[in-house]
Symmetry: C2
Subunit: 89 residues, 2 copies
Amino acid sequence: MHLTVLGLLAGALTTFSFLPQVWRTIRTRSARDLSWVWIVMMSVGIGAWLAYGILGDDLPVIVANGITLLLVATLGVLKASQEKISTAS
Amino acid sequence: MHLTVLGLLAGALTTFSFLPQVWRTIRTRSARDLSWVWIVMMSVGIGAWLAYGILGDDLPVIVANGITLLLVATLGVLKASQEKISTAS
């Protein structure tokens, strides 16, 4: 049980450390400092960790990477929508 | 065996996605866009994942978070040394 709590704590810290980046991208409406290489590498990497957690029945790994994948996907959507706007104007 | 390979692949992707940030900080000699809150949260979070991996005897979690902890620690050292230089000049 303690190990699960440790894993959930670790996941909370590393997942929440993405929030300032997502918040700054929303507030400034600018995702220029995010590269598509980084977004794709993180999405595939976190997706693989999520599969690893599901196959290994590892709750902390599933929860942390599930939420982080949503955050990174949000950054991808923001970047795509901003690039669409700037090419349209 | 396949699960370990999946975990090591996931770890390689999420760990290597830190390299551009570390490289840019070294090249530009500027860590201004990195906050101490982010560095501390990531260090404690990744340290907790490392402990989680060691206690759970989980090789991919140990390897990925061990290397990532070194990268984040490098960012912290770079930021501290650059702040020392700017206050001295």
